[in-house]
């Protein structure tokens, strides 16, 4: 177990591609940290540099206080779980799991005992003498985990370890990984492109884009106060709605109507350097069917035609098409590309998550309420979250400084 420190770590591949730029990160002893970001953002490269599978072009990497830039993987005492599992096909499960110990010249009896202990934890005891080709996907995944845990390394590195499993198994294994990490208390760096995994697993999450760290924080910090458009759009599912808006007469004018500014917003807008239009961000879960809201509750309502209604049982998602232009920035386009066509369409659309008791009907008009205090304002120039910089956005403490208004 050890602390891992990345100090300005940079990777430039021989072909000139700058994959990771000046990453500063301190991973505490025993911490579970997640690297998340769209495909190609440099997560694997960062992980491979920590592992020693890739050279570090610039910067310093320290594990447990020692600079390890030039140490071979085998001298770093770190275990890795690969996305492909990378099990040795010619060895049995027992041999696979015992391989690191065999290389470390541990005596046979100890290897046997440790492998059997790990197999017990991972429920692999019955499969110890089978070959990987005879195992199911989930079992292979557990063998890969087992191979990592048998030798009690200083840290675990996992590169999308669950992404080859089907959805149900993935959720199951997610819990198991989490439990295992808590139990062993080993420093873990976990790479994923799935924001749900990132939010549920990690003590802290590192959001990366194009080789640059966008924000580091607890899942809640990233959700509540994303530092920029990219983090705001990446964290949360379905993603945050973004609408272009102008500032006029102490209000934000956008496709949802006129949203009165509160103190926090005013401070945010004053603090920004430029002028001109902004981007307004609102999470789907911050909307509600106006009919279900106590009229004493201040807020903004707008009317729209429910285009698609998806009931998930616990929630109902209502989709609206908005008039006017959609917000476009490089960040949002990258997010849309990364998430595929479904969410790319959602850029045009307003997604709202409503209470299951809503009376909404597909094709019918619905009055939708939201609290202006939940509105986040972004600078379209650089994508910065202006509101996050000036104060924490939180529900509950807003009633005092917002005036309830109804827009029709």
């Amino acid at each position: 177990m050890a602390e891992i420190v990345l100090d300005g770590v940079t990777k430039r591949y021989p072909d000139g591609a700058l994959a990771v730029q000046a990453v500063d990160l301190t991973i505490a002893d025993g911490e579970f940290i997640i690297l998340v970001g769209p495909s190609g953002c440099g997560k694997s490269t960062t992980l491979n540099m920590i592992a020693g599978l890739e050279d570090i072009t610039d910067g310093e990497l320290r594990i447990g206080g020692d600079v390890v830039n030039n140490k071979a993987p085998k001298d770093r005492d770190i275990a890795m779980v690969f996305q492909s599992y990378a099990l040795y096909p010619h060895m049995t499960v027992r041999e696979n799991m015992g391989f690191p110990l065999k290389l470390a010249k541990v005596d046979k009896a100890t290897i046997r005992q440790k492998v059997e202990e790990a197999a017990e934890v991972l429920e692999l005891t019955a499969h110890l003498d089978r070959k990987p080709s005879n195992l199911s996907g989930g079992q292979r995944q557990r063998v890969a985990m087992g191979r990592a845990i048998v030798r009690s390394p200083k840290a675990f590195l996992m590169d999308e370890p669950l992404s080859n499993l089907d959805a149900k198994l993935r959720v199951q294994m997610r819990t198991q990984v989490s439990r295992l990490q808590r139990r062993l208390g080993t420093t873990t760096v976990y790479v994923t492109h799935d924001q749900t995994e990132a939010m549920t697993l990690g003590d802290r999450v590192v959001v990366m884009r194009g080789g640059i760290v966008q924000q580091v924080g607890t899942p809640k910090e990233l959700y509540d106060t994303p530092r920029n458009l990219f983090v705001a759009g990446f964290i949360g599912s379905p993603s945050m709605n973004f609408l272009p808006a102008t500032v006029e007469n102490d209000a934000l004018i956008c496709a949802l109507g006129s949203i009165p500014l509160d103190d926090n917003h005013r401070r945010a807008l004053q603090a920004r350097s430029g002028e001109g239009p902004v981007i307004v961000g609102l999470r789907p879960e911050h909307f509600e069917d106006a009919a279900l809201i106590d009229s004493s509750h201040p807020g903004v309502t707008f009317d729209g035609t429910v285009e698609v209604l998806e009931s998930m049982g616990s929630d109902v998602f209502a989709y609206f098409t908005l008039e006017g232009e959609r917000a476009t920035t490089a960040e949002l386009e990258e997010l849309a590309r990364d998430s595929g066509s479904v969410d790319a369409a959602a850029v045009d659309q307003l997604v709202t998550r409503l209470d299951p008791n809503t009376g909404a009907r597909e094709g019918e008009s619905l009055s939708v309420w939201f609290d202006p205090a939940n509105v986040q304002i972004f600078d379209p120039q650089n994508g910065d979250n202006l509101t996050a910089a000036s104060a924490q956005v939180s529900t509950g403490q807003h009633a005092a400084d917002t005036t309830g208004r109804t827009e029709d």
């Binding site: 599978l53 993987p73 492909s84 990378a86 096909p89 010619h90 391989f99 290389l103 989930g138 995944q141």
Partner: protein
């Protein structure tokens, strides 16, 4: 989709036809080798020998030349195969794994050598080997055999190495293996089918070679069996050595069959399955 009965029997007949087509000349050779030499001129056309005899076999093994040539063949083919496979394995591994400038050129050159008409090199090789005192020696054949079998070996093996997931090697490194341990304990066992396939191909190439053997040897000090066959004479000048040649041909075919059968069991397809994904 299950094959219907008609489809199955159709395939069966087609397979039998192909096998018969391929084996007929072999049978003819075997049949000839068991016929009485004096009668071959009259008996030659019949499918079965009218009178079975081992006379041809006894005859060729009584000839010192044939036994010499057989020893040469085995020795030269085995040595060439071992060296060529060892070199090809290393070269192919490097080609499959490493990015280095001129890699494409190297593969291209290797293929070019394999495609080069060997006959055009015989005269220069003859002169070179005379100059270097390699003419009519084992190394004098081993070196050209390696030259022409290496490109093929490298090509086949690099295809096999490319099939082995690179992640396995990374995993071995993470598990604490040195590069040599990773190669010996993880990569080499997985590359075995490829190595055996290559060994068979190279061995067959060396074993069957006639051109170099006839051109670069002058005595049974290094002449191999395919070339030696050409020097067979009948027991008398009135007799063609048909039976003896047939017997010798059968004798040199047997090792190849044994070699292939022995290694074929090791060529287990899909050995790498289960390494990755789920």
């Amino acid at each position: 989709m299950a094959a219907t009965g008609a489809q199955k029997s159709g395939w069966g007949i087609a397979n039998l036809a192909v096998i018969a087509w391929a084996l007929f000349p072999v049978w003819w050779l075997v049949s000839l080798s068991f016929k009485v030499p004096a009668n071959i001129a009259t008996d030659g056309g019949s499918f079965w020998p009218t009178q079975w005899t081992l006379e041809n076999y006894r005859g060729i093994f009584k000839l010192g030349e044939f036994v010499h040539a057989l020893v040469n063949s085995i020795g030269i083919a085995v040595i060439s195969t071992v060296i060529a496979v060892a070199l090809a394995t290393m070269a192919a591994y490097a080609i499959a794994r490493l990015r280095f400038p001129g890699k494409g050129l190297l593969i291209g050159m290797a293929l070019l050598i394999a495609m080069f008409p060997q006959i055009s090199l015989v005269s220069p090789l003859f002169s070179i080997e005379r100059g270097l005192h390699l003419f009519n020696t084992w190394p004098g054949l081993i070196i050209p055999y390696m030259t022409f079998s290496l490109p093929l070996g490298i090509y086949v093996l690099s295809a096999f190495f490319r099939e082995i997931p690179w992640d396995l090697e990374k995993a071995a490194k993470m598990d604490g293996a040195t590069p040599a341990q990773a190669f010996r304990q993880v990569i080499a066992p997985l590359a075995m089918p490829g190595i055996f396939t290559t060994a068979i191909l190279i061995f067959i190439f060396c074993w069957n070679d006639f051109l170099f053997s006839i051109s670069l040897t002058s005595t049974t000090a290094s002449r191999t069996v395919p070339a030696e066959l050409g020097f067979f004479t009948g027991l008398s000048s009135f007799q063609t050595p048909t039976g003896a040649i047939a017997a010798a041909a059968v004798v040199i075919t047997v090792p190849i069959i044994i070699f292939v059968l022995f290694f074929q069991r090791r060529i287990v397809a899909g050995l790498t399955s289960g390494a990755v994904k789920g």
